[in-house]
């Protein structure tokens, strides 16, 4: 039931716009530490970028219709693998990250492989990942002798008194280092998103032109690609978990594998725009503003209220603004630009209808 859809309108000038916007933002963020804005601002920026990175990783699967309601599982695996290996075996988190990626990739294949042969791919994926996230959480809690259970655990500190950088242990007291690290990760994630998007478009066009080829072979090709993307998304998210653990210096099954985290990811990306490159980033910013705003309005007490509001907003967004905030804006921008171009090239312009080119259906 999943289709790879490339919206022709998103081939429009909005692409270039987003690219430029990303570079401009990156440049601005790069300069921020030089104006000494204070630790809190830098922390906010780091959190913003980190979650933008994680959301973007999620959306690589999400835009294929593979909506995961349990990406928290990969976050948790990433975070805990890194911390466990460091605390008990002294393995550097850099290497621990690698190990985590391997485990995550295996998980992704395990969960993902059967789903392509299933009719209800999207639903299967949503609920199996929901179950997976629960299972991971239960395993973390079940292994409480090692993981500290619900109380969480902290990476063993490697920073001596006054020391700023412990490179091998991936611990940096200077937040600016984290800022630049996360900035690079964010840009990389955007680049990956961009490359995936291009190859999706190429695949879709290829599918059209290869009408004569046996449907099965195209199908298998598509399935392999999807599985690969799933592994990619999971691996990237897992690395996000590692970063999170090393920055916060505290991990907890609720914060990483809990249902709240997974929901926030889904809602954030949907609100921002699942099918545009900067959509997830926009979503992360939107969610941050929303949660700060809610905190001002309601105070710190009712934790459930913000999640309830996110849930309700998710429903409302899907019904009324399924493209998300940024997605809708960019769609209008492209349509507007198209109209202008059509007026200029009126007679010669071939019809470039901004229709969605929905090409492939995965066969059961």
């Amino acid at each position: 039931m999943t289709s790879i859809s490339t919206s022709a309108s998103f081939d429009g000038p909005s692409r270039a716009l987003q690219r430029n916007l990303a570079l401009v933002c990156a440049a601005i963020i790069f300069c921020v530490p030089f104006i000494q804005p204070g630790q809190y601002i830098i922390h906010l920026l780091i959190m913003c970028l980190m979650w933008s990175y994680i959301y973007t990783s999620w959306s690589i699967m999400g835009r294929l219709g593979l909506v995961s309601f349990g990406h928290g599982a990969f976050l948790g695996v990433g975070a805990y693998t890194g911390v466990l290996l460091w605390n008990y075996l002294g393995v550097s988190p850099w290497l621990g990250a690698l190990a985590a990626v391997v485990v995550t990739a295996l998980l992704a294949v395990l969960i993902g492989y059967p789903c392509f042969r299933l009719k209800i791919v999207g639903h299967y994926f949503a609920l199996v990942t929901l179950a997976l996230s629960e299972v991971v959480r239960l395993i973390i809690i079940g292994l409480r002798d090692y993981t500290g259970g619900s109380l969480g655990m902290t990476p063993r500190t490697a920073l001596a008194q006054g020391q700023e950088i412990a490179l091998g242990a991936m611990q940096f007291a200077d937040k600016r280092i984290w800022l630049y690290l996360v900035l690079v990760c964010w840009l990389l994630a955007l680049y990956v998103w961009h490359r995936v998007d291009r190859s999706m478009a190429r695949l879709a066009l290829q599918a059209i032109s290869e009408q004569e080829e046996a449907a099965a072979s195209i199908g298998i090709n598509v399935r392999a690609v999807k599985l690969g993307l799933m592994v990619l998304s999971a691996a990237m998210t897992c690395l996000g978990g590692v970063l999170y653990a090393q920055y916060q210096l505290y991990v907890n099954p609720e914060n990483l594998s809990g249902i709240g985290v997974s929901l926030q990811m889904v809602f954030g990306v949907v609100a921002g725009g699942m099918f545009v490159m900067l959509g997830p980033t926009m979503g992360a910013v939107f969610l941050l503003l929303l949660s700060e705003g809610l905190r001002l309005l309601i105070g710190n007490d009712l934790h459930g209220v913000d999640l309830a509001i996110y849930g309700a907003l998710l429903v409302i967004f899907i019904i009324f603004m399924p493209k998300g905030i940024l997605g809708t804006l960019l769609h209008r921008y492209d349509a507007h630009a198209q109209k202008r171009r059509a007026k200029v090239n009126a007679p010669a312009e071939a019809s470039a209808a901004p229709a969605t080119l929905s090409v492939l259906e995965s066969r059961p």
Partner: protein
């Protein structure tokens, strides 16, 4: 020592059977809705949770007798199901499946978080104490036996409804060929609404049976929600008989697995079993629909 060990294993097996009946009832609602509409109510367990809270609140806060509270609870969740369909699912019925997914996901989170806000995270108990039945060295709680009996009766009732009534037949027909239903004079929108109310009602009944045995808390949906879904997929989503059988298989995993290890691991094993089956037979063990 040997004999005692066997007896308790037998008890676990029997408990698994009783649990299976309950699971079968729960999966029935989900399968029904999917069969009719091709929509998976991802928030199904949360509907059950809401039903449990409703019954609990009616009984403990309002003093309504348990039986009546259960009836009201069932009606309430049936109404909830129909309302959810009418206002939340219908707008996205023609959209891509992913939107339907996200919309029910949103409802899931909303209900769960909402329950946290309204009722807090403590475990609530109905306060109904039913004794146990002793068979030899094994003991079975009355509430569990009762829920098995009620579940069985409900399943029989639904089967009769689906087979003997016109609407029931239409519900079965629409899952086999949706496009020609108008040619029979059937308004698909009405069938959807009926099926939604029915699915909600079954969830409400499940809630009534669960609240007799277990405490309710906002996240309880997470503990059996994915389970119900896994059961349905295992039996072939939309396949009522398949779901029925798969329910018993799963229940045994939980019961026996929980017997040998801690309860959490039973869940984990059931999940592993599920993944293994998915590799072998992705359409589900008994899928009739391609």
């Amino acid at each position: 020592m040997e004999t005692i060990f066997d007896i308790y294993l037998l008890e676990a097996l029997c408990n698994g059977l009783l649990l299976g009946g309950l699971f079968a009832l729960l999966s029935l609602g989900l399968n029904l809705v999917f069969g009719v509409m091709d929509v998976v109510w991802i928030c199904y367990a949360e509907l059950i949770m809401v039903g449990m809270y409703a019954i609990w609140w009616l009984h403990t806060a309002q003093g309504v007798p348990v039986f009546l509270a259960c009836l009201i609870g069932i009606a309430f969740v049936a109404l909830l199901g129909a309302t959810m369909h009418q206002f939340i699912i219908r707008p996205v019925l023609q959209a891509e499946p992913i939107n339907q997914l996200l919309v029910t996901g949103g409802v899931l989170f909303f209900l769960q978080a909402g329950a946290t806000v309204v009722f807090g995270i403590e475990f609530r108990n109905l306060g109904v104490q039913l004794s146990s039945l002793n068979v030899g060295e094994m003991s079975f709680s009355i509430s569990r036996l009762l829920s098995f009996a009620v579940a069985a009766a409900a399943i029989v009732a639904i089967s009769l409804f689906l087979r003997k009534t016109f609407i029931g037949t239409a519900i079965r027909a629409i899952s086999q060929d949706r496009a020609i239903m108008p040619l029979m004079g059937v308004n698909p929108a009405r069938i959807y609404l009926t099926a939604s109310a029915l699915g909600g009602g079954l969830a409400g009944l499940g809630a009534a049976l669960l609240v007799l045995q277990y405490d309710v808390h906002p996240a309880i949906g997470l503990s059996f929600g994915p389970l119900i879904f896994l059961i349905c997929v295992l039996g072939g989503l939309g396949n009522l008989i398949g779901g029925f059988l798969a329910a018993f298989v799963f229940a045994q995993f939980i019961s026996v697995g929980g017997f040998f290890f801690q309860l959490e691991w039973g869940y984990v094993f059931a999940f592993i079993f599920f993944i293994a089956v998915m590799f072998w037979k992705p359409q589900g063990l008994l899928a009739k629909r391609a």
